[in-house]
């Protein structure tokens, strides 16, 4: 933790990143904001492995695609084989960046004597044309009035009314959870053609065909990110999940699909009992 933050955290004045309504709701729930805390981590971003040109593609193979052209004479650039691979280096680097920023934020919260951190915002962006990726996470550290500090500081993306409702419903936050999966697509001939809106004269690749390799990559990235997050949940639930995903060209016939899944890990601590379906009403509000 940088030495500058220690001074800020020890002073008696609090700062808080919450909006006014969230701040009021927070006090109403018996939580007192003590500090705005943050964690930061910059990772170098790229494939640094050894083993020649094709080692990069030796990550976990997910699916392969065969060219349908067989013995037909195709041009010299023709790709007879394609593959979707998980870029494990990217997944691991992202996990390291995220977790490091997270732990630094929690350290600051501990320094401020907090029980938990609410309203967490986490961002990640590339700098210097993708060679560097920075991870930034911040939130409002709070103390629960009249309670002992917990064994482990809990964190949550939610704040305010949404957090209050979550707790009323019998859940308590454990931590923010996120994971990224990156799938590298080495396009087979059919995929390449279809992505350029062209087709072959032999009738084996038609423009009405699905671009399966690309759709598969999207599904694979989303599933892997979700499965990775799910494997860390224990018996808890992931609430308020959201997906952020995108495509990037990384070379000729090479594309990358990144998918980040974020959510709040929450634990079921009490049963609100059977809930009556609400009575429908029409509100006479102008």
């Amino acid at each position: 933790m940088p030495p500058e933050s220690a001074g800020r955290l020890e002073s008696g004045t609090f700062s808080s990143g919450l909006t006014i309504p969230d701040f009021a709701a927070c006090l109403h729930m018996g939580m007192r904001p003590v500090a705005l805390v943050q964690g930061y981590c910059v990772m170098s971003w790229g494939w640094f492995g050894t083993g020649g040109l094709y080692a990069r593609y030796q990550g976990s193979g997910l699916s392969t695609y065969r060219c349908p052209h067989g013995y037909y004479a195709m041009g010299p650039d023709h790709r007879t084989w394609g593959q979707n691979t998980e870029q494990t280096w990217a997944t691991q680097a992202w996990a390291t960046g995220f977790n490091t920023a997270y732990h630094r934020m929690v350290e600051e919260a501990a320094e401020a004597g907090a029980h938990g951190v609410i309203g967490v915002v986490d961002t990640s962006r590339h700098l210097l044309e993708g060679g560097i990726r920075e991870f930034h996470m911040y939130g409002t550290a709070v103390v629960v009035e009249g309670r002992q500090p917990p064994a482990q500081i809990w964190t949550c993306y939610l704040a305010g009314e949404r957090l209050a409702k979550l707790m009323e419903a019998g859940f308590f936050p454990v931590s923010v959870s996120a994971s990224m999966a990156s799938v590298l697509v080495q396009a087979v001939c059919a995929t390449e053609m279809l992505l350029h809106g062209s087709w072959d004269t032999y009738g084996m690749v038609n423009t009405t065909d699905e671009i399966t390799q690309v759709a598969d990559a999207e599904m694979q990235a989303c599933r892997m990110a979700r499965d990775r997050v799910r494997s860390t949940l224990g018996g808890d639930r992931l609430h308020g999940a959201s997906i952020e995903a995108g495509w990037k060209e990384v070379g000729a016939g090479l594309m990358q699909r990144d998918c980040v899944l974020r959510g709040s890990r929450v634990r079921h601590v009490s049963d609100p009992g059977p809930i009556e379906p609400p009575r429908p009403v029409v509100v006479l509000r102008g």
Binding site: E161, V281, V282, L284
Partner: protein
């Protein structure tokens, strides 16, 4: 004031309406609205729409005079009427009693110089008890009431008759240079503007009321006044007044006595 609309809906419309007549319904009402329309004793028949692309380029006008641009008024009125009439035709084809949730939109396209598309969309409904709710002119009623407002107004013993509108395109004179110099730096009323805006709004509202009278309505609910410059610059404005004409049919009000609450959320 409207020119007679051709009774020709495109063939795609006919095919779509046929499917609706065979029992399928579509509606752009939200789920809440759909259920309230049912509570009011009506069933949605189908999503209906009408549109018209109209040339709305500006006519010549005297720079120094505030006046209604009657040709443009007529054009805006006709365009919307055409769109509404086509929508009513679709509703008629389905055997509807009325159309609720009517939206009147205007689209401008960069390729459509001086032209705009007027679209009317809504959900056609029919009474489940077999009684006819068509208006005095024998046409399905149109209304821009939401599902919630439709249910509420029916509970008060009023039935919608039609969406009524009045429009007026007004040009506001550019003040002479001398006048401009005279009022620089003063907080004074700009009589030109006041007079012009007053007259224009009155014209629009009077025309709307005339339409309601033609339907033998008891009154107009939910009146709103819109002002648009479309693409004519800031000295030419269209004043549009819209509302739903209703007729009182019953004396007792079946609306349940409301519970008063103070809401604790903002």
């Amino acid at each position: 004031m409207s020119d007679t609309a051709p009774g020709d809906l495109p063939k795609d419309a006919s095919k779509r309406l046929e499917e609706l007549e065979h029992g399928l319904f579509t509606s752009d009402l939200s789920v809440n609205e759909f259920l309230l329309v049912k509570e009011a004793g009506f069933h949605p028949l189908g999503f209906v729409m009408g549109s018209s692309i109209y040339h709305t380029g500006i006519q010549t006008r005297k720079w120094g005079q505030s006046q209604e641009l009657s040709k443009l008024t007529e054009a805006m009125y006709n365009a919307r009427e055409l769109a509404m009439t086509r929508m009513e035709e679709e509703a008629d084809e389905l055997g509807a009693d009325g159309v609720v949730g009517v939206r009147l939109d205007v689209n401008y396209y960069e390729w459509g110089h001086d032209a705009a598309e007027f679209i009317a969309m809504g959900t056609a409904v029919k009474a489940e008890n077999g009684q006819s709710y068509r208006n005095k002119l024998g046409k399905p009623f149109t209304s821009d009431l939401s599902g919630q407002d439709f249910w509420t107004i029916m509970q008060t013993g009023h039935v919608p008759q039609g969406l009524v509108m009045g429009t007026c395109v007004y040009h506001i004179a550019h003040r002479g240079l001398a006048q401009t110099l005279g009022s620089v730096g003063q907080n004074a009323e700009l009589p030109n503007f006041t007079q012009a805006l007053y007259e224009a709004r009155e014209l629009a509202m009077t025309r709307m009321q005339d339409e309601a009278q033609r339907l033998d309505a008891t009154g107009i609910v939910g009146v709103r006044l819109e002002e648009k410059s479309h693409m004519w610059g800031s000295h030419t404005i269209e004043f549009l007044s819209l509302g739903t004409a209703v007729v009182k049919t019953a004396d007792q009000v079946t609306l349940p006595k409301p519970t008063t609450i103070i809401s604790l959320d903002n």
